[in-house]
């Protein structure tokens, strides 16, 4: 961890060297440790320390971006010079937007020293707990335990400066039988590693794995489903990317374009994005240094706002909501701290409300089939069960679905009251979501 003073020194050095009209410096420093296990033993155990400096320079209607992880004085100068040279080499872009003016972001305490200083021995002890529990039941455990410190800082030549440090601890396991025909998944995540409950993770995964043995094949078709939080996170992720993104609206490929205020979804569904919340992996400003606003995307089933960065906000004549990705940004602004508001039902009540349906632990290999209606395909994995007369009765062979995620939010008939925090490392997104009971979910195939 470098700390705010060191990162400010690096940013100041870069800004001092730049002769461009406008210059933005994005610094990200990460220390990530991850212990990975399979077959009841740790087989990969890694650590990474990296600092990247990204320079965006604006010369009139031209922008150049360069990134380097060489933070020596010479390395910083080279990155600034490269960004400027790149800008000079390109034709003017009439839509080029200037940098955002300085706006103070709130400070959010998201750093836990117990996570930052978590040792490989501590991670190994938690993993050992899971592996022993699995072995005792003649199952094998696989999974990963990650602890990470992320520092982010943004400075620009207009005077902006923002710094944040946060920690992430997450642990997940898949326990499976030797033949690989029965498996169960469980996970836990928090900014504070002390909050992770390895024993509970093991119990949940093993319970699902035990119950998954000798699954039956169900015929494809429409079913009522109870989606557990990991599956709901997938719904939130792809809906946010394809729908509640100002660039998608401006390019006429978002379902909510021109439909603000319409009752498009179940009145039980409310979705918002809040990068300042204490119960997520907070990051109070975006990659342009703009404070993240809390943005309500769906309020009781009615489509509300979409998120903006500086470029899309300028096009619509509004203020950025603080949802930029690092420049140059091809996909537009994204909500990265999504919440689906809890409802009233316990998990048991959600299941009890279903006469015949399927309980889904998580989705796997989800891909967009058609973006406008967020039609997705994917499979269930690591815990899929038949619900009959309000009871989980039999394990079910994994099913392929081809279904609209918008329809999931439209056909939600009940919302769970307990929410779960999750972090997707690849997508750099956080989710806090409950389980949902959803009618008319379309399964299109059965696995062997």
């Amino acid at each position: 961890m470098l700390g705010p003073e060191k990162l400010k020194q690096l940013a100041d050095a870069a800004l001092a060297h730049s002769k461009a009209e406008q210059t933005e410096i994005l610094l990200r420093a990460t220390d990530t440790a991850l212990s990975r296990f399979a077959n009841n033993a740790i087989h990969q155990n890694v650590f990474e320390s990296n600092v990247t400096l990204r320079v965006r320079v604006i010369l009139g209607k031209r922008t150049g971006v360069a990134e380097s992880n060489d933070i020596s004085a010479e390395g910083i100068k080279r990155a600034v010079d490269m960004a400027r040279a790149i800008a000079q080499l390109q034709p003017e872009n009439p839509q080029n937007a200037p940098l955002p003016p300085p706006r103070a972001a709130p400070s959010v305490n998201a750093y836990f020293v117990q996570t930052a200083e978590c040792t490989p021995e501590t991670r190994a002890r938690a993993i050992e707990q899971i592996c022993r529990a699995a072995a005792a039941q003649k199952f094998i455990a696989a999974g990963a335990y990650r602890t990470a410190v992320h520092e982010s800082a943004v400075a620009n030549s207009l005077g902006a400066w923002a710094y944040h440090v946060g920690t992430i601890a997450d642990l997940h396991t898949v326990t499976l039988n030797d033949a690989g025909t029965a498996s169960g998944f469980a996970s836990d995540a928090s900014p504070d590693a002390r909050a992770l409950d390895a024993a509970q993770v093991a119990r949940t995964a093993l319970d699902k794995a035990q119950r998954s043995q000798n699954p039956i094949a169900l015929a494809p078709g429409e079913y009522t489903v109870v989606l557990e939080p990991e599956a709901v996170a997938s719904v939130l992720q792809y809906t946010a990317w394809n729908t509640f993104n100002a660039l998608a609206v401006q390019e006429e490929r978002s379902f909510v374009r021109g439909r603000r205020g319409e009752q498009l979804f179940s009145p039980l569904v409310s979705v918002y994005d809040d990068g300042n919340a204490r119960d997520t992996f907070a990051l109070p400003f975006d990659f342009e240094g703009t404070p993240r606003q809390k943005v309500t995307l769906i309020e009781k089933g009615c489509a509300q706002a979409v998120v903006y960065d500086t470029f899309t906000a300028r096009r619509d004549g509004v203020a950025s909501t603080g949802h930029s990705l690092p420049a140059p940004n091809l996909v537009g602004p994204l909500p990265q701290h999504l919440f689906l508001a809890p409802g009233a039902a316990s998990r048991a009540e959600l299941i009890a409300s279903v006469a015949r349906g399927i309980l889904v632990t998580r989705f796997w290999y989800t891909r967009v089939v058609h973006p406008l209606h967020v039609v997705m395909t994917g499979l269930t994995r690591d815990g899929t069960f038949l619900i009959e007369n309000g009871q989980v009765t039999l394990p079910v062979k994994n099913l392929r679905f081809t279904s609209s995620y918008l329809d999931v939010l439209k056909n939600t008939r009940a919302v769970g009251r307990e929410t779960k925090l999750m972090h997707d490392e690849r997508a750099a997104m956080s989710f806090r979501a409950p389980a949902l009971a959803v009618d008319g979910f379309n399964f299109t195939g059965v696995t062997q």
Binding site: I42, V46, V51, M82, A124, E128, F255, L372
Partner: protein
């Protein structure tokens, strides 16, 4: 480089490592993008650092750092050793690597035009010209979005090990794609991409020029617009399917490349990427495909995106058989697992995304060897079927059995002729059944080494570049339908 690697290796052994290797990597990535006639992206990224992999107390540890001053090198090595000793707390056996690999050598990928010596102005103007050609195509009541991207990569890598290996490699890659996306008032969205996703090879700028982006741009936009009014692909439980060469490449990647990764087979990826239906008893004892299906893993293929001189354990690049006359005959292996299973020498497939990632078993170039048909003859020989072209969506289960792939467009084939454009086509199947139904494969004139630059695996996540030599192929009794 030699000073740093020698220092790390000496210190590692002095502190108790029974094995150590170090990779020092310097990667430069240049990305240029246009969107709707304007410059969207001009970015150069440079990343350098080193990664140390050790065996201590019989278990693995790895640590990496972007800085190489004395204190950082010392701390990084200490973390690698601490990780190894923590791994040992749960070990069930000691890691064995088999005979030492003390190779020394230099490898440089071949190119005619160094892409980093071509001016960025020329590159962006090429994209803007292609974009302009797409945007010249107009249709009433439809909206056209256009974009294009070029990417160039240079990776300089030094590998050294405590067994005496010392290897230097330089690999240059060039990649490109253009895309037209048409939308209509009803909200339909249709996309055409050329050459497919992002096509990429370990070659120079000549690769980009050969793709003729400008010449193909108008056709691409026309096809995107035509798809808006095309009929939907019919739903058929069993029909004949011809896949374009690029779709065969994707099919090979997902349903052959991943299941032959030995770490998946041994459940080392069970919690994330998944396992494999190609379990150990199937080796040399399983009919993976029809007798005309022959597949190789070939890291020596010129231009392939999975081509290199040595893998990230210092093992020389190899060409090995995976499927011979339809029978499954080989996995992709590494030193540890090849030793554990008595499979002989590793076939050299350990690859890491960069200095900050641990090498994993990854695809090299997984190729479907050419057959005897031209695409023209394949279509002429088909009375009733559907031709699927250019992947749009792909999904497959965690054992790599049940797949569902959609393409950007399809053509109905009747009486040996392409008769009707079809939109939103999807086909689905089960891997061995599908490959056993393959009855015709395109010849060498149709064979292209397609690049798949975004193959994800591992935790922390890493993306690797893989290649697939493939030509069009025909499959019988395939279920097809349309998104609805």
């Amino acid at each position: 480089m030699k000073d740093l690697s020698a220092r790390v290796l000496n210190m590692a052994q002095m502190r108790g490592a029974s094995y150590a290797d170090v990779r020092i990597v310097n990667r430069t990535i240049q990305t240029l993008g246009v969107r709707d006639g304007r410059v969207q992206e001009m970015l150069q990224q440079e990343s350098q650092g080193f990664g140390v992999r050790v065996i201590a107390d019989g278990a693995w540890g790895f640590a990496s750092c972007s800085r190489d001053d004395y204190a950082d090198v010392d701390a990084t090595l200490q973390r690698a050793l601490q990780n190894a000793r923590a791994s040992a707390l749960t070990k069930t056996r000691d890691v064995q690597l088999g005979p030492p690999e003390a190779n020394k050598g230099v490898f440089r990928s071949a190119y005619k035009m160094d892409p980093f010596m071509v001016s960025m102005s020329d590159k962006i103007n090429l994209l803007l010209k292609a974009d302009s050609e797409m945007r010249r195509v107009k249709m009433s009541k439809a909206h056209l979005l256009t974009r294009g991207e070029l990417i160039f990569v240079r990776e300089e890598k030094t590998f050294a090990s405590s067994e005496g290996a010392y290897i230097q490699q330089e690999i240059v890659e060039s990649g490109c794609e253009i895309q037209a996306q048409a939308t209509d008032e009803a909200g339909d969205v249709q996309t055409r991409t050329y050459p497919w996703g992002r096509h990429q090879q370990t070659r120079g700028f000549e690769f980009v020029l050969e793709q003729q982006l400008v010449e193909n741009a108008p056709r691409l936009a026309q096809e995107a617009l035509m798809l808006l009014t095309a009929d939907a692909c019919p739903a058929l439980d069993a029909t004949t399917v011809i896949l374009s060469g690029n779709q065969v490449a994707l099919q090979v990647h997902e349903s052959c490349g991943h299941p032959i990764e030995l770490d998946r087979v041994l459940k080392q990826e069970a919690s994330f990427a998944g396992t494999s239906f190609l379990t150990l008893e199937k080796l040399n004892n399983f009919q993976y495909g029809s007798e005309i299906v022959n597949l190789t893993a070939d890291a020596t293929l010129p231009g392939g995106l999975g081509t290199f001189g040595f893998d990230d354990e210092g093992v020389p690049a190899q060409r090995v058989e995976v499927v011979r006359d339809g029978r499954f005959v080989g996995y992709m292996t590494n030193r540890e697992l090849a030793t554990e299973l008595n499979l002989g020498r590793s076939n050299g497939t350990m690859r890491a995304e960069s200095w900050n990632r641990l090498p994993l078993i990854r695809m090299t170039n997984i190729n479907l060897l050419p057959g005897a048909w031209t695409l023209e003859n394949l279509i002429a020989d088909t009375d009733d079927g559907i031709y699927f072209d250019t992947n749009r969506s792909w999904s497959i289960d965690d054992k790599r059995l049940n797949f569902q792939f959609g393409t950007e467009l399809a053509w109905e084939i009747k009486g040996g002729k392409k008769t009707r454009l079809l939109k939103n086509p999807i086909y689905t199947g089960v891997t061995p059944n599908f490959w056993r139904s393959c009855d015709a494969i395109g010849d060498a004139s149709e064979w292209v080494v397609w690049g798949t630059p975004r193959c994800g695996k591992g935790q922390p996540a890493q993306t690797i570049r893989t290649g697939h030599g493939a030509s069009p192929a025909r499959f019988r009794n395939v279920k097809v339908f349309s998104k609805s």
